[in-house]
């Protein structure tokens, strides 16, 4: 029960950003929503199913380019984003079907290689994507700055609400049960009738849909994308760290983790620009060594208690 309350508080809190009229704060909030979508999505395959995917950036870039290209063809934003989601679902299902037979490190690298491969393809398919020169996405000139900022904030926020809803439904449903069985003992799960290939692939496909849609919103938001931006390794790693902060395996944890990370990153970046990546690195190291079960386990750790996974 309490996780729904936390989620409600988070969503309401974020929605208050436009009320301040501060476009900078809104930008931060939009980014927080975007990363929250990515972290919660990663949690489906990495946390619930136990397959450590490093492919988040592949879906993000795929969505950004799919939606961006459609936008240059005068397709309306909601449609281009929806199409990006569908494309990502299909592509992820196909990739997943092939790669999910790998486990652990091999799976991680294979998904990482997909990011690299897609980036190179985007770089080379100049006619379609603009290649290394990037893709310009038309903006709606009628909108003022504040209106535009609000539009994209609510687009991301709405996407976050949708993602959270779907992820929580998965957690509670038969699908979530199956994923938990697969994560804990895949062989035993198969022997009691779990079609693990089906469920894994579904989880992987779902983990790609909302990330791609977030990429689509991002592309229209920033008006210009390059392969290196949207197929960036950091886009794949940050959601993982965010899920770790919130406690791997929890949708709400991933969302909270994303917000904590974005807020912390902003503070560090403002005050210690030269050392920002180093400080983030230090935090990640500290997290892994001392709080691998997320901030939620802090109170247990401080009292010297054991943390059950």
């Amino acid at each position: 029960m309490s996780k729904y309350i936390i989620l409600g508080v988070v969503l309401v809190g974020l929605a208050a950003a436009p009320l301040t009229g501060d476009t900078y704060l809104m930008r931060m909030a939009t980014l927080a929503c975007m990363y929250a979508v990515m972290a919660a999505s990663w949690n489906l395959i990495g946390g619930l199913t136990g397959y450590p995917s490093f492919g988040t950036a592949a879906f993000f870039g795929l969505g950004a380019y799919t939606s961006g290209i459609l936008a240059t063809l005068d397709v309306a934003l909601p449609i281009s984003i929806a199409v990006a989601g569908v494309v990502a679902f299909v592509v992820a299902a196909i990739i997943g079907f092939i790669l999910l037979r790998l486990k652990g490190h091999y799976f991680a690298i294979a998904t990482l290689a997909c990011v690299e491969l897609l980036r190179e393809i985007a770089n080379s398919a100049t006619d379609l994507t603009g290649g290394g020169m990037g893709l310009n996405i038309p903006r709606n000139a009628d909108l003022g700055i504040f209106a535009e900022a609000s539009l994209f904030f609510f687009a991301m926020w709405g996407l976050l609400a949708l993602t959270a809803l779907v992820c929580l439904m998965v957690e509670r449903s038969k699908i979530g049960f199956a994923l938990a069985c697969i994560r804990q003992a895949e062989g035993a799960a198969e022997m009691i009738g779990v079609n693990s290939t089906l469920y894994k692939t579904l989880a992987f496909a779902l983990s790609g849909v909302f990330v791609a849609m977030a990429g689509g919103v991002y592309a229209s938001w920033v008006h210009y994308i390059e392969p290196g931006d949207v197929f960036d390794i950091l886009l794949t790693i940050k959601p993982v760290v965010m899920a770790l902060i919130g406690g791997v395996g929890s949708t709400v944890g991933a969302i909270v983790g994303a917000i904590v990370y974005i807020a912390a990153e902003e503070v560090i970046w403002r005050n210690y620009l030269d050392f920002s990546s180093g400080i983030i690195g230090l935090t990640v190291v500290g997290l892994v060594l001392f709080l691998p079960h997320g901030l939620g386990s802090l109170h247990l750790r401080l009292r010297g208690k054991a943390v059950t996974p």
Binding site: G104, V240, S276, G278, I280, G281
Partner: protein, 288 residues
């Protein structure tokens, strides 16, 4: 005759790739840890070579020895006190840990060395050697020879020395090794130290061939991945085979399709092998 030139280029490049990957493969195969700092250690080795050459005129192949000793120690300490704490945890944690550590190293490199590319130009320049119509720059040739010697040295250490054989034993069957009295954490630290030493040493050689900047570490890391998957984990012959194969594929691919496809080709090959033959050409199916 251009075929032979490309072949030679591919083999030279491949030898360097083999050297880059050998240490990475060892750590992955023995500890089941993917060391995301590997690329950064290569770059640090290159900076060390550059620094020693500019300050005291020490040629890169001699600073190799300095790099090896220094970075063995660094790697040993990192494994003993940091990585060892997550060695039994899910792979996600060791991946994230080495990633975090790499961020710190990257930041430090950017701060101290700045982001611009540097190269090590030997003065007096060594020129090139010609064998018929095939031309090979002398510095690359020397780098290749030392790379192969270094890789051979690793192979000999693993086969002949007591420590080396303990490392191989741990890789093959940890439980049995422990029963025979092998101190596993100590072996892990030594193996990791060797991996780091190999990386930095490879870096000193690479300084002659590739431009150095902090960001170059990702490219080297990527190569190391591909070589390991192609050749098989934890085996030096595997790294050599994988490295040579990658070098040849890239040079022939660049010639046939254009240089921008070389990177795509290497990642496509990676995925292909992961799906079809994850254990690589030589390696037996290692850890998951």
């Amino acid at each position: 005759m251009i075929f032979v030139q490309i072949l030679v280029n591919g083999l030279v490049l491949g030898s360097l790739y083999a050297c880059i990957a050998a240490g990475f493969s060892l750590v992955w195969g023995v500890l089941n840890v993917i060391n995301l700092m590997h690329g950064s250690f290569i770059v640090l080795g290159a900076y060390l070579a550059l620094g020693l050459y500019l300050s005291i005129g020490l040629a890169p192949w001699w600073s190799l020895a300095v790099a090896a000793v220094l970075f063995f120690g660094i790697g040993y300490l990192i494994q003993r006190f940091l990585i060892n704490r997550v060695i039994a945890a899910p792979v996600l944690l060791s991946l994230t840990l080495t990633f975090g550590l790499d961020l710190i190293i990257q930041n430090a490199m950017l701060y101290f060395f700045k982001a611009d590319y540097r190269s090590l130009k030997l003065d007096p320049a060594l020129g090139s050697l010609a064998f018929g119509s095939v031309v090979v720059p002398v510095d690359r040739l020397i780098a290749m020879i030392f790379a192969l010697l270094l890789t051979l040295a690793l192979y000999i250490v693993l086969r002949k020395s007591r420590v080396g054989r303990a490392i191989v034993a741990v890789r093959v069957d940890q439980g049995a090794a422990r029963l025979l009295g092998v101190n596993i954490p100590s072996i892990y630290a030594i193996a990791f130290g060797i991996g780091t030493a190999m990386a930095a040493s490879a870096g000193t050689l690479l300084a002659l061939t590739f431009p150095i900047a902090p960001v170059a570490s990702y490219a080297f890391l990527g190569k190391a991945f591909v070589v390991c998957v192609l050749g098989g984990l934890g085996s030096v012959p595997g790294a050599v085979l994988g490295g040579l194969l990658l070098g040849l594929v890239e040079t022939f691919g660049a010639y046939a399709l254009g240089p921008e496809f070389a990177v795509m080709l290497s990642f496509g090959l990676l995925i292909l092998f992961l799906v079809v033959r994850p254990q690589g050409i030589l390696g037996r199916w290692g850890f998951e």
